[in-house]
């Protein structure tokens, strides 16, 4: 058997793993999911569902082989599973880090962006659009688009542009156009609405690269499948390194793409506990009158509703108006969450937990000063959870390091400055006050 044939059959087998069958047929995860979009987009979504089945599930024209090859050569996969020695000692448990921060671009986002831009090319689309919150998805999409020679426009909330200037520069460096969104509070949900408007006008030749497991079918299943490579590798690497499965997998959750990516191939392993760590912000209370949730914990505090193409759990007021969310990490700052995660939480398979801004910042500093890894503020929530709840966890914990923190340094300095973070470095001698 040739190498190509071997990899084709392996790819086919992987895409048929039971944990990845959920939602494929009709886009429904129990009561969640679906296709709630303007009529003008429905044909594009049907076309995408058809392309997903042909190219992703059935590896037509060797799509998945090319995807895997590009993920390896351009992306740098597989990423390592690293034992965290100091954290293991601190918590008296085996802590392993799945190093998605080492993927090209510095975050797990490239897995999905590369998959979708390549798929758009196979579909004969001529233009890519995307939206971004923290800028990680936008950066990954801009990189993938440059790599595959596709013109690309990225919508980003004005407030996020100000919070994430290095990522804006990176997107522009890679040749993408960055369009500021000024409506609403100028964050991710407004950017998503704006990108959907662009798509409604350009749907015939444009593909919208949704950045998480949200949106109308087939996006939640397709993004999960592109990200499932994280758990596929983590599962094999854990068995290889330790001789068994982990007891717990911990991942931060905003929209949920790194979360489902880290969980996908463990969902059927009932012995493995799955913890989705949401941004608790400053408090889990909501200000219904002001329409503001000072957190982004839609799994934890949200109610069922319909937004951006899917039925899922949302931060909303009693009338159904979507609330402004908040997190110290702009990458988690979204009022919704992927429908599959909402379903798995209802089923009791995924444990939703929330970590507040203070604990996330402590997690940020702890991973930096104990392990020499500066995590994204999104990722830092997972380490905040580890600090607070390590006694509730089993003997072998895998934490998904979803991204690196270089992009967050300005925000981390500013946020640290506003708080008494016990494990933060003392910068007063350098700056005259930190």
């Amino acid at each position: 058997m040739s190498e190509t044939e071997s990899s084709t059959s392996e790819v086919g087998e992987l895409s048929r793993r039971p944990g990845r069958e959920r939602g494929r047929e009709d886009g429904k995860f129990g009561r969640y999911g679906g296709q709630y979009v303007p009529e003008a987009l429905m044909p594009a979504i049907e076309e995408l569902a058809d392309a997903y089945e042909r190219y992703v599930l059935n590896n037509e024209d060797g799509f998945m082989d090319e995807f895997r090859e590009r993920l390896a050569d351009f992306g740098g996969r597989p990423t390592p599973l690293q034992r965290a020695d100091r954290l293991s000692e601190r918590y008296d448990t085996e802590v392993y880090l799945k190093r998605e921060d080492l993927l090209h671009g510095g975050a797990h986002k490239l897995n999905n962006a590369l998959g979708q831009v390549l798929l758009a090319k196979y579909m004969g689309k001529e233009r890519i659009i995307a939206e971004t919150g923290a800028g990680q998805h936008g950066t990954a999409t801009a990189m993938a688009a440059a790599h595959l020679d596709m013109p690309c426009t990225i919508y980003m909330g004005e407030r996020d542009i100000n919070r994430q200037r290095p990522n804006v520069f990176r997107m522009k460096l890679n040749g993408s156009e960055v369009k500021p969104v000024t409506t609403g509070r100028g964050t991710l949900k407004e950017a998503i609405s704006e990108t959907m408007r662009d798509w409604a006008a350009t749907v015939e030749d444009t593909h919208y690269v949704i950045g998480s497991i949200v949106g109308p079918h087939p996006f939640p299943v397709m993004v999960r499948d592109f990200q499932a490579v994280i758990s596929e590798e983590a599962r094999e690497q854990t068995v290889e390194k330790t001789g068994g499965l982990p007891t717990d997998v911990v991942a931060c959750a905003g929209g949920g793409s790194n979360t489902m990516g880290a969980f996908a191939d463990f969902v059927d392993d009932e012995s493995v506990a799955l913890h989705a760590v949401e941004a608790g912000g400053s408090t889990l209370e909501v200000d219904e009158e002001a329409g503001v949730a000072p957190n982004s914990a839609s799994l934890f505090a949200g109610e069922e509703g319909v937004l951006h193409g899917a039925r899922t759990k949302l931060l909303q007021d009693s009338d159904g108006q979507i609330m402004e969310s908040h997190s110290v990490s702009s990458g988690l700052d979204y009022a919704g969450v992927g429908p599959e995660l909402a379903y798995l939480v209802d089923e009791g398979r995924v444990d939703p937990v929330a970590v507040d801004d203070d604990a996330a910042l402590e997690g940020f500093h702890r991973l930096s000063n104990t392990e020499g890894i500066i995590p994204a503020l999104e990722t830092a929530h997972a380490f905040g959870y580890l600090e607070e709840h390590h006694e509730d966890l089993g003997e072998r914990v895998v934490v998904n390091v979803s991204g690196r923190g270089d992009k967050d340094l300005d925000a981390a300095i500013e946020e640290t400055d506003q708080r008494d973070v016990p494990n933060a470095p003392d910068m007063s001698m350098f700056t005259g006050g930190m």
Binding site: E39, A40, M42, G184, S193, A200, V306, H308, G320
Partner: protein
């Protein structure tokens, strides 16, 4: 083909003028005066926009109007009170997004919203983010309470999807004149003609919307075979100008009534041109 006799009557005799305004824009009382001005200007059906915070199908004109109305305190409950207080002859249709319908009342699901809408005198619903595939529960509730459920047919809607939608539509079909979001334009798209041609075999009134802003547009669209015209952004623009120029409610209402007359007269000219081609020649 439909539940509402009032909507059927609106399309029965000549072209229907279907204007849209956002309820509560820029405030409750002015908005009432504006909707009543549309009625005096010849409206047959009035689409009342119930504001949602994430209006993904709307362009900037209507989105800004929705924000003005939300900031002024518009809620579903006040929307229904507004509909009840209106003094108009036109049939009323509510245009909103599905989450508001789904969340209304103590239980989730569309039935409580539809029941309340019917009590408030609403005759139909347009829900831009609810394709036919997801519409069964709402359709059942509409049938129960005698409301029409209007679907939007896009220039991209063809084949099986079109058949499925036309099986489910009632009252009238909203023919989206071009791809994109709502917003006034300066021309009439070829996509409109193609869409009307595709729909000709279906026995349901066809009202064309998206981009109509003048009497001349109305004339051309109706002459092209439309049974009605839907006008939103051009009217919302008048309200926005009133806010920007600090005009009195009466001045804005007069402008809305005048534009409505221009549009209805344009539609009538278009109608005459194909019902009595010899006279117009």
């Amino acid at each position: 083909m439909g539940n509402s006799e009032a909507i059927a009557a609106a399309f029965a005799d000549g072209p229907a003028y279907v204007p849209y305004l956002v309820v509560g824009d820029p405030d409750y009382e002015s908005s009432k005066a504006y909707v009543e001005a549309l009625d005096r200007g010849g409206a047959d059906v009035i689409e009342l926009g119930l504001p949602f915070s994430e209006p993904i199908a709307e362009g900037s004109t209507i989105q800004e109007a929705l924000v003005r109305a939300l900031d002024a305190g518009m809620t579903p409950e006040r929307f229904f009170a507004f509909a009840e207080e209106l003094d108009v002859d036109a049939a009323l249709v509510c245009m909103t997004y599905y989450n508001l319908i789904y969340q209304y009342g103590d239980e989730t699901g569309p039935r409580p919203f539809v029941e309340r809408a019917a009590a408030a005198g609403i005759e139909g619903l347009v829900v831009p983010d609810l394709p036919a595939e997801e519409a069964d529960p709402l359709r059942e509730a509409c049938d129960e309470f005698g409301l029409d459920l209007v679907f939007i047919v896009a220039p991209t809607t063809r084949g099986d999807r079109l058949d499925r939608m036309m099986e489910n539509v009632s009252g009238y079909v909203y023919v989206q004149a071009r791809l994109g979001t709502t917003g006034a334009r300066d021309d009439v798209s070829d996509q409109t003609t193609e869409s009307l041609d595709r729909l000709r075999e279906y026995d349901v009134p066809k009202a064309v919307g998206f981009g109509i802003s003048t009497g001349e547009h109305a004339e051309r669209i109706v002459a092209g075979g439309a049974d009605g015209i839907i006008v939103g952004s051009a009217l919302v623009d008048v309200v926005a100008e009133g806010v920007a120029e600090d005009l009195s409610t009466d001045e804005v209402a007069d402008r809305l009534e005048a534009l409505s007359r221009e549009l209805t007269e344009g539609a009538e000219r278009g109608y005459r041109s194909w019902t009595t081609p010899a006279e117009s020649a």
